[in-house]
Symmetry: C2
């Protein structure tokens, strides 16, 4: 059965999409079958994987026009499939408001995929609206990218209390997979101070792997490729391979 991980943080620009793409690619390169689902109307994960104007998207699945397996497309990376997004997805927030099962639509959709994938990775938009709630209800765990800066750290409390709300109402087994420090620049005091603060509060819930600020991670999307394909020797690409390895061992050590 697939392990479903939501990559979520309502703070904008902390590296959710970069983590979704590169972690998915790393898991696939390590031989696992992975499905990456783009749940952001901005469709950054879709364009970051080089997919232009997809014919069907996750929006078509939310509205029931197509089944989820019809929306799955292959990527240039063996073992990595994806469900693209588009701006239409912004309509889901309003269109689903009246639906009785509006928080569980994605969970029900993903249940049909059962045996096909080892990992399903959900890239979330920078908000805690209905789309992100659907992701948190469908997920077994949440992986939270955090930039080592003040506002990103400050928002973690709100995110944790929202996860508590999701556990109480819809998904009692939802776990925190861990916090990943991103865009880390060891020359900057602020980054060191914030990362120390986050580690002292969240302790073993912070991944040992730290993602450095690395221009290859920012350049790769303009070529429609993960950094692991665009520049596999870069410090950014290597960090995501390391993160995938740590994630795979996560269950074993704790």
């Amino acid at each position: 059965l697939a392990k479903i991980v939501a990559i979520a943080n309502q703070k904008g620009g902390v590296g959710k999409t970069t983590t979704s793409i590169n972690l998915s690619a790393a898991l696939a390169i390590l031989g696992h079958s992975v499905l990456l689902v783009d749940l952001d109307p901005q469709a950054n994960a879709t364009s970051g994987m080089g997919i232009e104007q997809p014919k069907t998207t996750v929006y078509d699945c939310f509205t029931g026009r197509i089944s989820i397996s019809e929306a799955i497309i292959s990527t240039k990376i063996k073992g990595l499939s994806m469900i693209p997004s588009s701006v239409d997805l912004v309509g889901v927030e309003v269109e689903l408001t009246a639906a009785p099962n509006r928080e569980r639509v994605l969970r029900d959709l993903l249940e049909n995929l059962g045996e096909n994938f080892a990992w399903i990775v959900l890239d979330c938009p920078p908000a805690l609206g209905l789309i992100t709630i659907n992701a948190l209800v469908a997920a077994h765990s949440v992986l939270v990218p955090v930039q080592c800066e003040y506002y990103a750290m400050e928002g973690l409390g709100w995110l944790m209390s929202n996860m508590d709300r999701i556990r109480e109402s819809w998904n009692p087994l939802l776990e925190l997979e861990g916090i990943v420090l991103t865009m880390y620049d060891s020359r900057i005091n602020l980054a060191r101070q914030v990362s120390e603060e986050i580690r002292s509060f969240f302790r073993e819930k912070v991944f040992r792997t730290v993602i450095p600020r690395n221009v290859s991670l920012a350049e790769a999307p303009s070529y429609g490729q993960p950094a692991l394909v665009y520049n596999s020797a870069s410090s950014g690409a290597r960090a995501y391979m390391e993160l995938a390895g740590e994630l795979l061992n996560h269950g074993k050590t704790s």
Copy 2:
């Protein structure tokens, strides 16, 4: 009458809050009376100005519990007042869905403030939901911060077409005040390439002032101050003073 400017971009982490706070502070330092309105449930502009646990927020205005002038508080900067936010604001998206004037609530609220301020600056969340729509309907113009990176550039088309939609339906006079390039690091090729692409497409609509990547801008919020107070000699603070000067002259040259 006040000039109302929305600081908006649905892409996350591009510098909306940093621009809202530091541009507002710069306009106040230059002798103008400014109201900063935090429209993000993350309430980053509120904490970035050093305001903890505000008793009343913009949410109380949206729900009609208090009048907008009751929500205004002063800041440590002469000439700069603000209306704080809180996580409650996330409820507005659902609570207003059924209201007949749901897109014009903020416009109607701000109309009562008429003579009190020369500038009203609206910090928007990273989304194009009902809160941001309210800001675009209330605003005379939109100032768009853009990080010089691929995803931020890619999202501009969607933002422009949304502004067209707002003009057609609710606010025919909505203008693009301009695009501000943020977190610019001239040593990085990607930043130079993206900024050239944005300038060649948007031409004179791109402010001449470019905001450099500068750690004082990221450190200042942890002290609850604009960079213009925290470290007024920093390149980041000076760039925002320059931007304020350019904005004040905007009407004159074009």
